[in-house]
Each structure stands twice: as C-alpha cells, then as structure tokens.
C-alpha cells in the first residue's frame, strides 16, 4: 500500500472521518462547557455535520472505491448521506429546548448522535458484509444508549433494554447469514459474491444466507415480522430520538437493503417473493394496528412501520425506478415525519406531554398556523396531493406497475386508504374538537426553523418533484 492509495482512501471516507473526529472533539469540549452554555454544543454539532456535508458535496463528482473493496463513495451513498445529515441536523435543532425540559442536556447526547450518524454513513457506503456490520453496530449501539437516555423514567429504561436484547438477536441472525455466505463463497464482498455464483444454479444454502441477512436488515427498518420492538422503543425513547430513529437509521437500513438488492446475487434469485410478502404484511399490520392507538408516539411508530412497508414495495419493484423510488420516498419521509415529530416535540412543555392524541383537541383553534402545519404533514403522510407524500407513493406505484406488479400496486393503495384513516382522525381532533385545556407550545426559534424547513420540503417537493426525482434516478445506479 502506497501513501497515495492511503490518501485516496482517506479522501473517499473524508466525511466519515470528519464526523468521527468532530464527535471526539465534542466529547472533550463537553467536559469544559459550563451550565447554561449548552447552546454551544448544539452549534458545534451542527457545524460538524455541515462541514461533513460540504465535504460530501465536494467529493460527489466521482466514484471512489476505498479500503480494498470494503467501501465506496458513490452518488448512491451521497444521496443517503444527505438524508442522514438532514435528519441529524434537524434532530439537533429540536433537541435543545426538549433536552432542557427533560433534563438531559449533557454533551454525550450530541456525541452519541454524531457517532450514530457516522455509523449510518458507513452503512450507506459499505460494499462488504463486514463493513456493513461495522456501520450497523456503530449506529445501533448509539441508538440503544440514546433510547435509554431518560434515566429516571422507567418507560425509557424498559425500551432501551428491549431494544438491546432484540437488537442483539437480529445482529446474530445477520452475522449467521454473513458466515454462511463466507463459508459457501469464500468472500464477504458483495461484488465477489455475485461473481462466485453467476452462471450456476443458485445454491439453496446461499438463498438461506440471503434470507438471514435480509432478516437482520429488516429488523432495523422495523418491517414485519421483526417489528415488535418498534412501538415500545418509539414510545419509551426521548421524542427527539424517536424522531431521529424513525428517519435516519431506517433510511440507513434501506440503503443497505438496496445495496444488497442492487447486487445480481439477489436479482437472480426469487428473493423478491419474500420481500413482497414482507411489504404487504408490514403495510397491512402498520395500517391496521395504528387505527386503535391513542398515544401519538405509538401511532407514529405504527405509521412508520406502514411507511417502511410501502417503501419496501419499491424494493420489490427493483430496477432503476424501483431503487430511485425508495430513495425518493425516504427523502420525502424524512421531511414529513420530522415535521410531524417537531409538532409533537414542541408540545412538550412544563408538565404537559402532548403524547396523547386527545391533547390536541381544538389545537387549530388556539394555534391556527401550527394547526395548518400539522394538517400539511398529516395529509402528506396520508399521501394526498399536492404534498410530497403523494409523489413519494406515486413513484413507488409507477415502479411497481412498470415491472408488471399491478396486483401489488392495488394492494398497496387499498392499504394506504386504511392508513389515511388514522392521519385524518388526528386532523379531525385538531380541527373539529373543542379544546379541553390551554397549552403553550415550546416554540423556540430553533423549533420554528425546523418546522419551516420540513414544511418547505413537504410542500416544495410535492409541487416541484422534478428536480428531486432526477436526483434520485441519477443516484440510483450511481456506482
């Protein structure tokens, strides 16, 4: 290995290096920051992410493989990294006031988020089962801790414990799949794996391995049958972390799933049938169970299961449009879901939790502007035009029909009509009920900025999807 190669490798992973170095510096800085100066931590964390984003943007021009086939910096990874940056920065902005109220204003909170971010970035760039594993574990270990961050709350502790145990099981399943692949093909690299099996009829052992790997990944995106942890963890975790987890790690999970599925290994096998079943069951379960939820965070947890199901339909479709549809879906989902979570987070003020849907009765009466914003996010989540959520679903359906899966498209739209019901139910509570008590949302400038950004994304992509669509299409096969 020469110095030049080493430099090339470092250059390819520069954004990751920036984030990890930044996190380490923040860890030290956090010990020096006095009480009342926590703002500094937020801005330093945001700065780290912005520098990483700048580096990503500068390096996006060409494809850079690195670390002997373990890692690649291509447009596919760049697209996902920007989704992660978006999720992380908005989480930082939302966290400041919330952390004060919950009394979790320590610097580790921000450091953990940055490490989780770096894990997700590695996942998006990984081209080897082992580097996928490294990124995955880095990400989930941080989210385990963040889930249990409300130490004095039993719900939070329970959620973290549940998450750790189930997460470990899923990791074990994933690793078992990896070891099978290695045993059968002698490699863990996605490309080499494909070369090893091309031409021959597929080894059933290899199919089993793929199923194990898919199972491990499916856990991370919260798809059926590995979704059981999700509602409890979402409910127990600090709301800011729930918002983050519903967008960032989920997108990271999909990045890996797409990377594995881009691979001819899977394209050649009939794994899509498994994935189609997962998609249908996930969407159905998420939609139907959400109907009976009274807790807003739990409802959003099931909504996030349903959305994972819908995005999985894009994976089933495959091909360039299928992959691009999932990517666009995740980007749009990041905007609208962080938007609705901002609304939930801003309700947390004093002794008021804003977690029960009934808390929002008559909200539009006392706060017409905020009510309208929630209406926008909820209709977008339900997939009603002209919001971005409609275009996300529309493009997934286009990809499905293009591949001839008209029947699956019909199932998907029927189930999303069910899902629309519970979003509209919240709109009903907000607009059509009389307020029961007065409440003052914790509207700091940072929360306002988050709401404005997510609203702009939700309505902007809805009205002018052209540019984002082309971006997703170009990034889909960027490598």
């Amino acid at each position: 290995m020469t110095g030049a190669t080493l430099f090339q490798w470092a250059l390819a992973s520069l954004p990751e290096i920036i984030v990890i170095t930044g996190a380490c510096i923040l860890l030290i800085l956090g010990q020096l920051v006095r009480k009342g100066q926590e703002d500094l931590l937020v801005w330093a964390s945001v700065a780290v992410v912005l520098i990483a984003a700048l580096a990503t943007f500068m390096l996006a021009g060409e494809v850079r493989p690195a670390y002997s086939g373990m890692f690649i910096a291509d447009r596919f990874a760049v697209f996902f990294k920007f989704v992660f940056y978006l999720a992380t920065v908005l989480t930082f902005l939302l966290s400041r006031k919330y952390a004060d109220i919950e009394g979790i204003g320590s610097s580790e909170y921000y450091v953990m988020l940055l490490f989780a971010l770096s894990g997700m970035m590695i996942m998006a760039s990984a081209t080897d089962l082992l580097s996928i594993y490294v990124g995955l574990e880095l990400m989930v270990l941080c989210t385990y801790v963040l889930t249990g961050f409300l130490r004095h709350e039993r719900r939070s502790n329970e959620a973290a414990l549940k998450y750790v145990i189930l997460g470990a099981v899923s990791t074990a399943i994933f690793l078992y799949g990896v070891s099978l692949v290695y045993g059968l093909t002698g490699t863990t690299q996605l490309d080499a794996m494909a070369a090893a099996v091309s031409g021959d009829p597929l080894d059933p052992g290899l199919l089993l391995a793929v199923v194990f790997i898919v199972a491990g990944l499916v856990f991370k995106v919260g798809a059926v049958p590995f979704h059981m942890w999700l509602p409890d963890v979402y409910e127990g975790a600090p709301t800011t972390i729930t918002a983050f987890m519903s967008v960032g790690p989920k997108a990271a999970g999909f990045a890996v799933i797409l990377r594995v599925f881009l691979n001819p290994l899977v394209a050649a096998s009939d794994v899509w049938i498994i994935v189609a079943v997962i998609a249908v069951v996930t969407l159905a379960l998420g939609s139907f169970v959400a109907l009976v939820q009274d807790n807003f965070k739990r409802l959003l947890a099931y909504s996030s299961i349903a959305h994972a199901g819908f995005a999985t339909f894009g994976v089933v479709a495959g091909g360039q449009d299928g992959v691009a549809s999932v990517m666009l879906y995740l980007l749009i989902y990041a905007f609208m879901n962080l938007g609705i979570f901002s609304a939930v987070i801003m309700m947390r003020n004093g002794d008021f939790s804003g977690e029960v849907i009934e808390d929002y009765a008559g909200f539009a009466k006392s706060h017409p502007g905020l009510g309208l914003l929630m209406l926008l996010y909820l209709f977008s989540l339900a997939g009603i035009p002209p919001t971005a959520g409609f275009f996300a679903k529309f493009y997934v359906l286009v990809a499905l029909v293009e591949q001839g899966f008209v029947f699956l498209a019909v199932i998907a739209v029927l189930l999303s009509a069910v899902a629309a019901y519970f979003y509209i139910r919240i709109v009903m509570v907000i607009y059509m009920r009389e307020p029961e008590r007065a409440f003052e949302p914790a509207l700091t400038p940072l929360v306002r900025a988050t709401l404005a950004c997510t609203a702009a994304g939700t309505i902007g992509i809805g009205l002018f999807p052209g540019w984002f669509l082309r971006l997703a299409q170009q990034s889909a096969f960027g490598g």
Binding site: V401, V410, V413, A417, I424, Y431, M432, G466
Partner: protein
C-alpha cells in the same frame, strides 16, 4: 405572447385565498372573497365569448414542463364539454360566497380560504390536459372539502366528513393505479390527448374501465356506492352542499366523458348495458328514497342520486341525443340542485329546522321565496319551459334508443320525481300558515336575491332557448361519438 387565460382562471381564486390569509376583519374577508370570485366568473365569460364552437379541438391550450423525467406536463385546455363546467364552477363560486355570508359566523377567514382553494382545484380538474395534473387536482380537493364539511357542518359533521373522505379516497386510489397502468400502455405519457389516440387491447380496456368506474361511480355517485352523499349533504354547510351537488358530483360524469369513453371505447360500448342498468337503478332507487324523506336536505340529496342517474344514462346511451342531454343535464343539475340547496339554507337560517313537518303555509309569510322555490321545484321535475325538461327529454330519447327497458324505468323515475317534489312543495309552501306562527320569517333579502336570480335566469334560458348551450358542446360531443364508435367499426 397570448394571455394564459385558463391559468388566470385557475390561479385567481388561489391568489384570492392567499390574500385572505392576511386580512383581519370578517367583512373584509367576505368582500374580498366575493371580489375574487366575481372577477373569476367574468374571466370565464370572456373565455366563452372567445370560444370557437365550430371545432372539437382543445382551445386556450397551455403547456409547460413540470416533471420532465416522467413526461408530466402542466397542460391546460378546454373543449366544449369542459368549457361548460368551467363556467358552471365559476358561477357557483360567487354564489357560494353569498350563500355563506351570514351562515358562516365563525372562522370566516378559514372557511373562505377553503372555499376559494376548492374552486381553484375544481377549475384545475376541468382544464387539465395532463392526467397527473388532473389527478393532483382531483385528489387535493379532498382536503378543503373535508374541512368544509367537518369544521363548519352540522352535528354529525365529523362522521360525514370521514365517510366522504374515505369513500372518495378509496375510489380515487384505484383510479391512480389505473392511471399508471394507462401510462405504461399508452407509451409512457400523461398527455390526455395522446392517450386518447392510443388503441389499447380490449382486455386492458376492460380492467381500466372498472378501475376508473370505481372512482367515478363514487363521485357521481352511482348506486350502490352512494351512501356517503346523503350524510355529506345533510351535514355540510349550504355552500358545501352547493359545491358538492353543483360541481363535485359532475366530476365523476366528467371522468366518464374525458377518460372512459374516448380512451376505452370498446370497453365502454361493451359495458354500456351494465352502466345503463345501474343508471336506471339509481334513478328509481334514488326517487323512492327521496319520497320517504322528511329532512329537506336529505330529500334534495337523494333526488340528486336520481338526477345523476339520468346523466350517466345519457352518457352511456352512447348516441348524440343521449350524450348531449346527459351533459346538458349535468349543467342543469348544477344550477337547479345548487339553487334548491341554497333555498334550504336560506330557510334553515331563519328556522333552524330542516324537517318538512315543521313547515307549512310558507307562501303566506314569504311569497317571493316560495315563488322562486316553485320555479326550481318545477325545474327539478323537468316541467316544459325549464332547463331540465330539455335535458331530460334528450336523455330519455337517447335512452329509449339505446335500451327500451332502461328508458321505461327512467320514465318511472321521472314520475317519482314529480311525486316527491310536488309533495315537498305542498307540505312546505301551501296550506295554513302554521310556520309563521312558530318562527319569525322574513322574505329573501337583497343578498339572497343576488344569488338566486342568476340561477333562475339560467333555468329559464336553457329551458326556453337551449341552443347556445348545446352549441358549445355540440362539436365536442360529435367528435367524442366518432371516437367511441369509430374505434369499434375500424376493427
């Protein structure tokens, strides 16, 4: 460069909604909303004045790229059929503002914003020449309409709004899948005219026909997917009912005219008997239901189901008279039933009851009101000299030519119409003036008159001299017929 007239017509109400957001006083909101809708109406008159009735080609067309990666464009244009409905929508637009002048007394600003956005989207539906644009407008209408019913409606408004939303959403989503299938079968384009020119295999046409049918049948609404309509109508505020009856129900029929017939001609011909039977069922069943109602609004709502049956019957008779009658009847139903809902609203504001049993002898206390009510009641039952007579006669002659049994059933439905409408009028207007003892009733005021008079003018104008209206649609309908039958004979 020419003036983008259709864009102006669509975006003027939207701009009005944006302006309203910044106003503070309720009166300023009302007057501004009225101003924007009246100017919009004037623009549609200008459009009709410049409309060339000799051609079936799309006019006032505009095209701009929107999502080039998928061939989605912002394309607008009107032919005779859509021009008529653009005009009707703008006409009912300012009448709705007048109808909610005092009826809406809380959150006036929000209501008017919803009303104006609704108008912009409805105009978008009728002008769209791109399927994607059409679908976006078609579906986005759910948001303001859901709020109009759910926030400003009667006691059961939440249930009614839910039902309306879910029925139409479920229908539309299947339509969306149909649209996407059409996109791939029609050469990856959303251009409505290009898709119309495609020859699709019969099997594909059949599937698409039923996917579209579900969406359009819910909107029309046809029996058996009509049950959301009485709920929505009864609970909606007056302006909401006028929009629902006047324009929203037309969207389904318009869908048949714009998509099912020209794009799926063989399937339309093949399944026309089924559609005629469903129409006859709607006419008779809706009539019987209306006969049994005591609630004024419910009665008009069920009569709408019956009347829309005439419309679909005219369309699927697939001959010139039937089609022209069906389209004219759509316009007539918008005017007449819109007016009837307006009348129910006017009297409801005074008495706060809609039960027919509570009325009686209204003629003595409100002679002008009952006089005009008589005109619209007679129009609704298609008395000669009124607008519906012309439409219904055309539909019936078209229906008889297509299928004798269905035509006979429709005549029975027309008889039923006379029964429930005359019964309603007798109970409400005639007899001893018991209603005057119970409620303090003033006759119509100038504002209400301003809303009623133009509708009355159209009732008589179309009734006595329908030629200008038939002229507008004539060329387009003839072209539509050659598309439907031409494809078939060309095989």
């Amino acid at each position: 460069m020419t003036v983008p007239l259709l864009s102006l017509i669509i975006f003027l109400p939207a701009a009005g909604a944006a302006v309203l957001m910044f106003l503070r006083s309720d009166d300023a909101v009302r007057w501004t909303a009225l101003g924007f809708t009246v100017v919009d109406f004037a623009l549609t008159i200008a459009m009709l004045a410049g409309f060339d009735t000799t051609t079936h080609e799309m006019q006032f067309t505009e095209t701009r790229a929107w999502v080039p990666a998928m061939g989605i464009t912002y394309a607008l244009g009107v032919d005779g059929i859509s021009a008529l409905f653009v005009f009707l929508t703008a006409l009912l637009g300012w009448i709705c503002v007048l109808a909610s002048w005092v009826a809406i007394d809380r959150k006036v600003k929000e209501f008017m914003v919803a009303l104006l956005s609704m108008q912009a989207l409805m105009l978008g539906v009728f002008c769209a020449l791109d399927l994607f644009l059409f679908y976006v407008c078609w579906e986005a209408m759910l948001i303001p309409m859901y709020l109009i019913i759910g926030v400003w409606g009667g006691d059961g408004r939440v249930y009614a709004a839910f039902k309306f939303f879910l029925y139409t959403l479920a229908g539309s989503l299947l339509f969306l899948v149909g649209v996407i299938v059409l996109y791939f079968h029609g050469g990856e384009t959303f251009d409505i005219l290009a898709l119309t020119a495609q020859d699709l295999p019969f099997r594909v046409q059949s599937w698409l026909f039923f996917a579209f049918l579900i969406a359009f049948a819910v909107k029309v609404p046809m029996v058996p997917v009509h049950t959301w309509l009485p709920d929505a109508h009864v609970q909606a505020p007056t302006a909401g009912s006028i929009i629902l009856a006047g324009v929203l129900l037309k969207m389904g029929a318009y869908g048949f005219l714009r998509f099912s017939l020209p794009m799926l001609p063989e399937a339309s011909v093949y399944y026309s008997t089924l559609m005629l039977a469903l129409s006859a069922l709607a006419i008779v069943y809706g009539g019987f239901l209306a006969l049994a109602q005591d609630d004024l609004k419910k009665l008009v709502a069920y009569s709408s189901i019956s009347h829309m049956g005439f419309v679909t019957m005219g369309i699927f008779s697939l001959n010139l008279r039937g089609l022209e009658g069906g389209i004219l009847q759509m316009f007539n139903h918008g005017v007449t039933t819109g007016a009837l809902f307006l009348f129910v609203g006017v009297i409801y504001e005074r008495t706060h009851t809609r039960s027919i049993a509570n009325y009686g002898g209204l003629m003595k206390v409100a002679p002008v009101y009952t006089g005009f009510l008589a005109l619209f009641t007679l129009s609704s039952m298609a008395l000669p000299g009124t607008n519906s007579f012309v439409g219904e006669l055309l539909v019936l002659s078209g229906g008889f030519a297509a299928n004798m049994a269905v035509g006979t059933a429709a005549v029975l439905g027309a008889l039923l119409g006379a029964a429930y409408l005359l019964g309603m009028y007798r109970k409400v207007a005639l007899g001893p003036a018991s209603v005057g003892e119970r409620y303090e009733i003033r006759d119509v005021n100038a504002r209400e008159m301003a809303a009623i008079l133009p509708l009355a003018v159209f009732v008589l104008w179309v009734g006595l001299y329908p030629k200008p209206f038939l002229n507008v649609i004539d060329a387009s309908v003839k072209h539509l017929l050659t598309e439907v039958h031409g494809h078939r004979s060309g095989q």
